[in-house]
């Protein structure tokens, strides 16, 4: 038995995988002590199975955990007091960044503060050049003097990022040794070990973020593993990483930056599996709907999309991690987005959100602004008495009244017309976000399937998919806990990188192969250590390359781990042209190429074939009844309401209809058809 648990902002989701069956549980997140929420979700599961918690946990081999702990600590400024050590002459790496700005006429947003203040930034006398040669030797006495200052300043963590440490790490290493000696007990992160990537700002940024999380994540993971053990768990605790893999909790405690994007990163992993199972491996647009954000990612040819430009917060306004991460684009649109009418009489949705507190008006927890969730209640999409399986009763009248005064009257519309308009506008925003990334990655939505994850996904996934002109929409049976389900499908993985600049014209075969060999050795060591006992081990090599005189590299997959012959080099060049063509729709076969950073990723597969299925409940009736629901095209219409779990596969349901489970509601628009796949997901086509 394996357990996957994802702690989100509002809910702590748990998926229990027992053989070929999975079961889903949701508990409230407990922000003051998130481990309590985890234990609550486990207690719910134990109760369901009619077991004592200790017995139940005793049977589990693996506990896989995703958490927003690290990201929340960063967003609320509750990280360690961290110092930044940089090359002499370059104190403002974290201040100057790489430039860039959004909203040219918006001067109300100030320039971002550096992640580490200038007063905790120290210049190290030393300089290495681009070719790795030492221009100025390291001044060790100066480092020791700085260590003394850090002591005086009560610094709790240190990030070290020196220029060109990626080609020659000696200075950074020596600084690390000196700090260990003269500043004992204070965690240190060295940039060339953490994130050996070109561009000093993003490397430094990743380094200081990692350092700043060390004390806190060590403590959190220590508490989690200890309390799980006390509760009876004797298996292995793993953490979900931003890279869409899983790692031992102890390893993440040593490199906590791995955990900052851990939740959203799992959605495409799950999406990839469901698209392959239920839509013949079509390109998948994976949309995960939360209370405040709408996270979108693309999976094509079974590849999880990667980026090295991940931002914490808004682009150019937050901090870039520069750390390889699953590429997920987030827009501020969710069930909590507030609808309003501006002074010019225009309907608006967001960017303000009611979040989970006070939440939508209908929650009756003090919310007064009408939200998208309130609208879905007004339109009849959500059953006020069956929200989250009936654990929470919603106040439809309050929602309608708020919408009438705040929106409908101002627009001269009926309450339901206003609610439908708000849905249409929210749909439009989501379509815009998806359009942007599909264009960026050269995917035609017409050939892709939209996968809806998150509890609120089903409310307008069909509308979004239809507007995009997708091949279809898929709501997986575990869609409401997509990230946790993804965690069960992930591999134990790690990736390694090393910079070595060379060109296609004068390709440094020997040096490149030496780099590749060392990367491979590190992958093998990982496979024999944390990955021991895997069903299958794969090592994927890739290189970040560009045409001569371009600035931005793209990642090119390599077919083998060595470049021995001219033919190998030619194949690599061809792979680059092909990748460039597929991303940018152009290639330049005549052009010289530059290779910058070499990468290897090792994946140790734990389980065959994704994850198990939700069992069909025996006692639940198929049709729950009928309900009046509203669409702009049809007005109020009488619709079938069907229980998701009891739907047999292969029997189509024609819209308009509502398909409900304890965790999600799917609106099947008029003119569309829903059918349950063999695997258990809900396919909607139009």
């Amino acid at each position: 038995m394996r357990l996957a648990c994802d702690t989100g902002g509002t809910f702590t989701d748990l998926v229990v995988e027992d053989g070929d069956e999975i079961r889903l549980f949701k508990a409230s997140t407990t922000p003051d002590d998130p481990v309590r929420g985890v234990l609550n979700s486990l207690a719910l599961a134990a109760e369901h199975y009619g077991r004592d918690l200790g017995d139940f946990l005793g049977e589990a081999e693996m506990f896989i955990h995703g958490t927003t702990r690290a990201i929340n600590a960063i967003l609320t400024g509750n990280t360690a007091r961290t110092a930044f050590l940089t090359t002499e002459g370059h104190p403002d790496v974290l201040v100057i960044r790489e430039g860039g700005r959004i909203e040219p006429f918006n001067f109300t947003v100030p320039y971002p503060e550096p992640y580490v203040p200038r007063r905790l930034t120290f210049e190290i006398p030393e300089r290495i050049e681009a070719n790795g040669s030492i221009r100025k030797p390291l001044d060790e006495a100066a480092v020791i003097a700085i260590a003394e200052k850090l002591k005086l300043l009560k610094v709790e963590a240190v990030g070290v990022c020196l220029l060109w440490s990626i080609v020659n790490g000696e200075h950074e290493k020596r600084v690390g040794e000196l700090l260990a000696k003269h500043l004992p007990g204070v965690p240190v992160t060295l940039s060339h070990l953490l994130n050996p990537t070109l561009r000093e700002y993003r490397r430094a940024s990743a380094t200081v973020i990692d350092a700043s999380l060390k004390p806190l994540m060590f403590q959190y993971l220590d508490s989690l593993t200890r309390r799980l053990r006390e509760a009876g768990f004797a298996g292995r605790t793993l953490m979900v990483t931003s890279g869409g893999g899983i790692m031992d909790a102890e390893a993440v405690a040593r490199m906590p930056i791995h955990s900052i994007n851990s939740g959203p990163a799992m959605a495409p992993v799950a999406g990839r599996y469901y698209a392959a199972r239920d839509f013949d491996g079509a390109a998948a647009i994976v949309a995960d709907t939360g209370g405040t954000t709408y996270d979108v990612s693309l999976v094509r040819d079974g590849r999880i999309p990667w980026t090295r430009e991940t931002w914490i917060g808004q682009r150019f306004r937050g901090h870039m991690t520069g750390f390889p991460s699953v590429d997920v684009k987030s827009i501020g649109a969710g069930g909590g987005s507030i609808a309003w009418v501006d002074e010019g009489g225009l309907l608006r949705v967001g960017p303000r959100s009611a979040g989970s507190t006070p939440g939508p008006v209908s929650y009756g927890k003090g919310g007064t602004e009408p939200t998208v969730t309130d609208c879905s209640l007004i339109l009849g999409y959500i059953d006020p008495d069956f929200f989250l399986g009936g654990t929470m009763v919603l106040d439809r009248d309050a929602a309608a009244e708020a919408l009438r005064t705040k929106v409908a009257d101002k627009l001269g519309l009926s309450v339901e017309e206003a609610a439908a308009a708000i849905f249409a506008l929210a749909t439009e925003k989501m379509v815009g976000a998806i359009d942007e990334i599909t264009v960026n990655q050269g995917i035609d939505p017409a050939t892709a399937v939209l996968i809806g994850g998150g509890g609120a996904a089903g409310l307008n996934a069909v509308a979004v998919g239809r507007r995009l002109g997708c091949a279809g929409v898929l709501i997986p049976e575990a869609g409401s806990v997509l990230s946790a389900a993804g965690a069960l499908m992930s591999d134990i993985a790690s990736d390694y990188a090393q910079m070595l600049f060379t060109t296609s014209r004068r390709f440094a075969f020997d040096e490149v192969n030496a780099v590749l060999a060392s990367l491979e050795a590190r992958c093998r060591a990982f496979a024999e250590g944390p990955g021991a006992g895997a069903l299958n081990v794969t090592i994927d090599f890739s290189v970040e390359a560009r045409y001569a005189h371009q600035i931005w590299e793209i990642e090119v997959p390599m077919t083998s781990g060595r470049i021995e012959t001219d033919a190998d080099l030619e194949a690599l060049q061809q792979a680059f042209h092909d990748t460039h063509q597929s991303i940018f729709e152009i290639s330049d076969p005549g052009s010289d190429m530059e290779f910058v950073t070499w990468r290897a990723k090792v994946s140790c597969q734990l389980r065959e074939g994704g994850t198990g299925q939700l069992p069909m409940p025996k006692s639940v009736s198929h049709e729950l009844g009928r309900r009046q629901i509203y669409f702009s095209e049809t007005g109020w219409t009488d619709a079938e309401v069907i229980r998701f779990e009891s739907m047999p596969s292969g029997v189509p349901v024609a819209g308009p209809a509502i398909i409900e489970s304890s965790f999600t509601t799917v609106v099947v628009d008029p003119g569309t058809n829903a059918v349950r796949s063999e695997g258990g997901g809900l396919r909607v086509t139009f």
Partner: protein
């Protein structure tokens, strides 16, 4: 057109949805261009813009891009296309870069596509403007400040030249470009990227027309313009009425030994909800490359106005433009250029000298609005470096760098944005990474850091100056060409704020000594010679004595200012020490010091 027509009934829902659709289309055009462009100036520096206009050439939607590109100019260029080609057909595309007919400088190539429906009716225009790495100038730079006219500048000029019919290229024009433009492959790649962008915009608009109906889209456009105009009127009504005439001056450059004075006459009429700017009382066109085009002079004025409103909720389009009157005259260096005067540097230097006094004038008329002046450019750390690369068999290299440039102006609500670059850029372009520059070019960037006490002091201060020192690697001779304004006239503060520090260029000789360099210059550096560049600081907004003490404390703790300046300029008295990070505001002493200082002023 002038806002006098009776208000139309607006559908707040449909308008919102279509506004989102049009924005998405403009963004899609922009993304297509960005992702497919070949040259660094496009795919790194983002120096391009994509816009949608109505059939009668009014700006309807623009993707987020350089303000100086988009506000005025696309309208004039589309009118030019219509004038020369009254019978527009589906499949047409026009290449236009004439500075005398609405474009900015000749290096900005525009592709203009008329969106023609199935029945042959013109419905919209889409336009993509992209700064080329080369445009066939007489020398390898797209900014030639020291040329007497367009002949010496040497750019290929296209005036609404039909580059595609029936969606097929006119090879005559392609060959002209390939023969004359220095990096023809790169140009061709960028041409394809721009073409992809306008064709995607066209396709999406045709689909939109098919699904909503063209009449509906026309109704939408008018409703959106009306809405935008109302938002603009409301925004202007928050300001008091008033009028100011302010001046500024571009530094002396070759061809203009006295520099170029610029005078702006700004009037806010809050009751009527209008802002007027008169630029006509300014010098004639000058025998240098600094002259503005009609597009860049009017856009420069508009940038200042939208900056000054401090309300980014006002949509920037022909609807809100109805509330702005800008007067320019023919044959004026900040108006309408007369052929054959050169406009090679029309987007930056002199344009900033138009925007800056206007946003300052708004501040002087309207407390809580307007902005101080943004730092002028371009210091050596933004120059063009060239030479032969000893690491690469002596291959020639040439590129513009963006190593260290700052300049953000203090505003009524925030401190100057550090990486604004210059006022017309609004910080939309990027700053170089040291490692990327050192990998690409035989250059060593010895240092790059902010300089304390260089901010224009204020209630909200300007951005400080950045200092950078760089030179060639061993065995290389490197040339650095730059055109630095702001060595004499700094970015001024507004409403009692101080000026930002001036820009400066120096050379560090082999013996370590420093020599001052001219403002517009080409420095040659040998091994162990370095150029030292100081960017201009931005001006401050409001009296520094009114700056919140916590903000002053922050700047002091963070080393943006020194203890002396905190006390003397900002009137801050502190307790504790920087050594153990225990500095704190001494509130009573600060208030006493400030009261005394206010009395002296």
């Amino acid at each position: 057109m002038d806002g006098q027509s009776p208000p139309r009934r607006r559908d707040g829902v449909k308008t919102a949805i279509l506004a989102s659709r049009f924005d998405s289309i403009a963004r899609k055009m922009q993304n297509t261009l960005f992702r497919t462009a070949r040259s660094g100036i496009l795919n790194t520096a983002h120096d391009f813009s994509c816009v949608i206009l109505t059939a009668d050439c009014r700006l309807l939607a623009a993707a987020e891009s350089l303000p100086s590109h988009t506000l005025v100019g696309p309208d004039i260029m589309c009118r030019t296309v219509k004038a020369y080609h009254p019978d527009l057909k589906a499949g047409d595309c026009f290449l236009h870069n004439s500075p005398y007919e609405g474009n900015s400088h000749a290096a900005d190539h525009c592709l203009i596509v008329p969106v023609v429906d199935e029945g042959g009716t013109l419905r919209f225009f889409v336009l993509a403007k992209a700064h080329q790495a080369d445009c066939g100038n007489s020398r390898p730079s797209t900014y030639l400040g020291d040329v007497v006219d367009v002949y010496e500048e040497g750019a290929l000029i296209f005036s609404a030249a039909k580059v595609q019919s029936d969606y097929k290229d006119n090879q005559d024009i392609i060959r002209m470009c390939e023969t004359r433009i220095r990096v023809p492959d790169q140009w061709w790649g960028d041409y394809l990227a721009s073409m992809g962008s306008v064709r995607i915009g066209e396709r999406e608009l045709l689909e939109l027309g098919a699904s909503f109906g063209w009449d509906e889209l026309e109704r939408y456009a008018e409703a959106w313009f009306d809405y935008s105009e109302e938002k603009m009127a409301t925004a202007i009504a928050r300001l008091p009425s008033g009028r100011r005439t302010l001046s500024s001056a571009h530094d002396p450059f070759p061809g203009v030994p006295e520099g170029i004075p610029v005078k702006v006459d700004v009037e806010i009429d809050a009751e009527a909800g209008r802002i007027r700017v008169d630029l006509s009382d300014n010098p004639d066109c000058q025998p240098c490359g600094l002259n503005l085009t009609q597009g860049t002079s009017m856009s420069a004025a508009m940038v200042a106005i939208y900056n000054g409103l401090i309300d980014h909720g006002v949509p920037v389009n022909a609807g809100s433009f109805r509330r702005i009157d800008i007067t320019v005259r023919e044959n004026c260096c900040v108006g309408i250029p007369r052929h054959p005067f050169s406009c090679s540097v029309a987007t930056t230097n002199l344009a900033d000298r138009v925007s800056n006094p206007i946003q300052r004038a708004i501040a002087e008329i309207a407390p809580g609005f307007g902005m101080a002046e943004t730092g002028p450019i371009m210091p050596p750390a933004m120059g063009v470096i060239s030479g032969r690369d000893p690491r690469n068999d002596g291959e020639p290299f040439v590129n513009q760098v963006h190593i260290a440039v700052t300049g953000g102006a203090g505003t009524p609500v925030t401190d100057g944005f550090l990486s604004i670059i210059h006022v017309g850029n609004a910080g939309m372009c990027r700053i170089d990474c040291v490692e990327v520059d050192e990998l690409h070019h035989p250059i060593v960037i010895k240092s790059r850091a902010l300089v304390p006490d260089t901010e224009g002091a204020g209630t909200f201060r300007g951005a400080p100056s950045a200092r950078a020192e760089f030179g060639p690697v061993d065995g290389c001779v490197m040339k650095v060409l730059y055109t630095a304004d702001g060595t004499i006239t700094p970015a001024l503060g507004a409403r009692g704020g101080g000026p930002g520090s001036k820009s400066r260029a120096e050379k560090r000789e082999k013996d370590g000594g420093l020599t001052i360099l001219p403002a517009c210059y080409g420095a040659t550096l040998e091994e162990d010679e370095w150029i030292v560049s100081y960017s201009s600081g931005g001006g401050g907004y409001g009296s520094p004595l009114e700056r919140e003490p916590e903000r002053v404390l922050h700047d002091l703790r963070e080393g943006w200012i020194t203890a002396g300046r905190a006390r003397d300029v900002y009137g801050l008295v502190t307790t504790g020490s920087a050594e153990d990070d225990s500095l704190a505001v001494d509130w009573a002493a600060t208030e006493t010091l400030r009261t005394t200082a206010r009395a002296v002023r």
